[in-house]
Symmetry: C2
């Protein structure tokens, strides 16, 4: 394993090419304009659920149930699959398909929705992308398998060839997902969150699909690149390409067991700072951290990140957080584990200023840690 020398400067997310300052003014303008369109629903006899603005999925009250919808992008993980295919001859696009669906499904379920329909958005740099039959079939098979895992119908989608917009040989992958909160009592927008609730963390399989810009940048520092062996016996590239865990089987099983989470957070960009997403004023005290997947420990070490930087950027082994009533916590863990997904009662919601305390690591973040940068 190649280790970063002490003289290697730490690598930040901005150095990896993502400049939030340029995106966020647009985001703010878009959010404001979007919010102003909500009254249109009244003409159809419906209304938005205002608390869903700014949450991970948008929710509309359509009477007998709530309608939730979302579109999500994979990000740059496909670039790793492309490079690994070049290096190994294997296609990793079955996993990439799962990653893409996970981006949408794992966000949609945070509001308590059952995902029902997924649409595929596969925009290639040219018609020739689809001419690699092994890769194309892997994408189709992985997409179908992820739909099977989540119990959603694959409705259809788009497969445009966008020469001049998408780079030659590349593909821009996204998924839209529509679901229902049914019965309406399953709505999870955070109003049930209370002091004494327990925080259950669900295991991540690896980096999932957030932090890939940083992970790809690191490759330039590794003499063996993606083929660098890491702890656990895999290469860096293989480990990066572990498919994102699909968490909807857990939330559906909880519903069947009569457990309604009080809040849920999909831990993606901004890492564990996402645990500060709820708008209320609570102190979140974490007393146990899950085991860190080798690939994430490797990235942390190679990038020279301290724990605060690593946990504030990457999932570090926790891909999803469920805030549940204390009496439901142990059962929630057992239900997740019964589905083969690691789970831990990792902390609790307390009265106090808005902050996240990760006690085993000595990390304390206040409310402003999650503000858009």
């Amino acid at each position: 394993m190649t280790a970063a020398t002490p003289s290697t400067p730490p690598l930040t997310y901005e150095q990896a090419g993502v400049v939030y300052d340029l995106i966020d003014p647009l985001k703010v303008a878009a959010q404001r304009a979007a919010a102003a369109t909500a009254p249109h629903l009244a003409a159809h006899g419906f209304s938005e659920v205002p608390a869903s603005r700014g949450e991970s999925a948008y929710v509309v009250d359509v009477g007998p149930f709530y309608l939730a919808s979302i579109v999500e992008c994979l990000g740059s993980k496909a670039l790793v699959a492309d490079e690994m295919q070049r290096l190994t001859g294997r296609s990793f696009y079955a996993g990439i398909a799962q990653d893409t669906i996970a981006m949408a499904v794992n966000d949609l379920i945070t509001v308590g929705a059952t995902p029902l329909v997924v649409q595929a958005y596969w925009a290639a740099g040219g018609s020739d992308w689809f001419g690699d039959a092994q890769r194309a079939q892997a994408l189709v098979a992985g997409w179908k398998a992820a739909c099977d895992t989540c119990g959603v119908a694959w409705g259809g989608g788009e497969t445009p060839a966008l020469a001049g917009i998408v780079e030659a040989g590349r593909i821009d992958l996204a998924a839209s997902c529509t679901g229902l909160v049914n019965p309406k009592s399953r709505l999870t927008l955070g109003d049930k969150l209370a002091v004494g609730d327990q925080i259950v963390l669900l295991a991540a399989s690896g980096i999932h699909a957030n932090g890939l810009s940083l992970a790809r940048k690191l490759v330039e520092r590794l003499p063996q690149g993606y083929l660098t062996p890491i702890d656990g016996g895999q290469t860096y590239g293989e480990a990066l390409l572990a498919p994102t865990v699909l968490y909807s089987p857990v939330t559906e099983a909880l519903a069947k067991a009569g457990i309604v989470p009080h809040y849920a957070a999909n831990i993606t960009g901004h890492g564990w700072r996402k645990l500060l997403r709820h708008p209320g004023t609570f102190t979140y005290r974490i007393h146990a951290v899950p085991p860190v997947p080798p690939v994430l420990r490797f990235i942390q070490q190679q990038a020279g990140q301290d724990d605060a930087e690593a946990y504030g950027t990457l999932n570090m082994g926790a891909g999803f957080a469920l805030h549940v009533a204390a009496e439901d916590a142990e059962r929630t863990v057992q239900i997740a584990r019964g589905l083969g997904i690691g789970a831990w009662v990792a902390g609790a919601v307390e009265a106090g200023p808005k902050q996240l305390l990760i006690e085993p690591l000595g990390i304390r973040w206040e409310a402003d840690a999650l503000q858009l940068r």
Copy 2:
């Protein structure tokens, strides 16, 4: 105006870079895999509407109403806006936003759905795309205005920066749309289509967002390029960028007037061959063709297309078709015109072999004209 000399060879769609043969095997595999996921809906107490497979939007029966969803890509029209911004200093992204929403909304309404929620998918080649404030604000303002026209709520979306996947300086635009067929009697999947029904065509504003690969390729033949003046006083570039007409105000007004179309076709790729989309065996006889927008006549002339090639590729002035009962035809026209959208009773559904006859042009297409190429 520059005219194609007789020696200039005609330009086909494949020469413009879109190779359907490479896309379609994947599409067929994806459609097969997608269809196999439908049984998942039963576990949630719902079921798909099988006739919606292969139609423009996917429909699920959720009990009190039908749920319809879709994701649609703009295609390459943004490249024209980019070049025109370079040439004129003006941003055309307000219109581009409308085009993107139109791609999704105009497809969703073909099944009888009321569009309720739109999600934005704006994937840029880098964070710097969003740094052009004039362009970014135009995109936001145009998106909001299109939502206002359609009476939909803008739920949110994604604004990823995808360096290495999307080309630097470019943006990949798409929209997802979710709606409800409510009441369920508004479902328009074609089972009501009958001999004697009239075909109402709704006016297009120009090329809309299909045929742009061809339109862009033509620019190479024009000494003045996008600034070539065309009939009507606009430049070629300006005319190409006329925003796509949003047709959902028409379908919503029809519903309020108690008119349920028997079938609807969004005339996009494959031009008027989309009028053969319905799976039944009918003869569609067109006795009147709408006026051709100058930009489409110009493309036809410059590309050296005969009418069959032009009407089989471009909308040629008809952006949407509504098949209605004979007694509703004239009222349908009046309702559309009352909304400022040109409309004509252009033909009729007859008993006979599956074919489309465009009598004023001497065009006859049989069933196989719309097969995937």
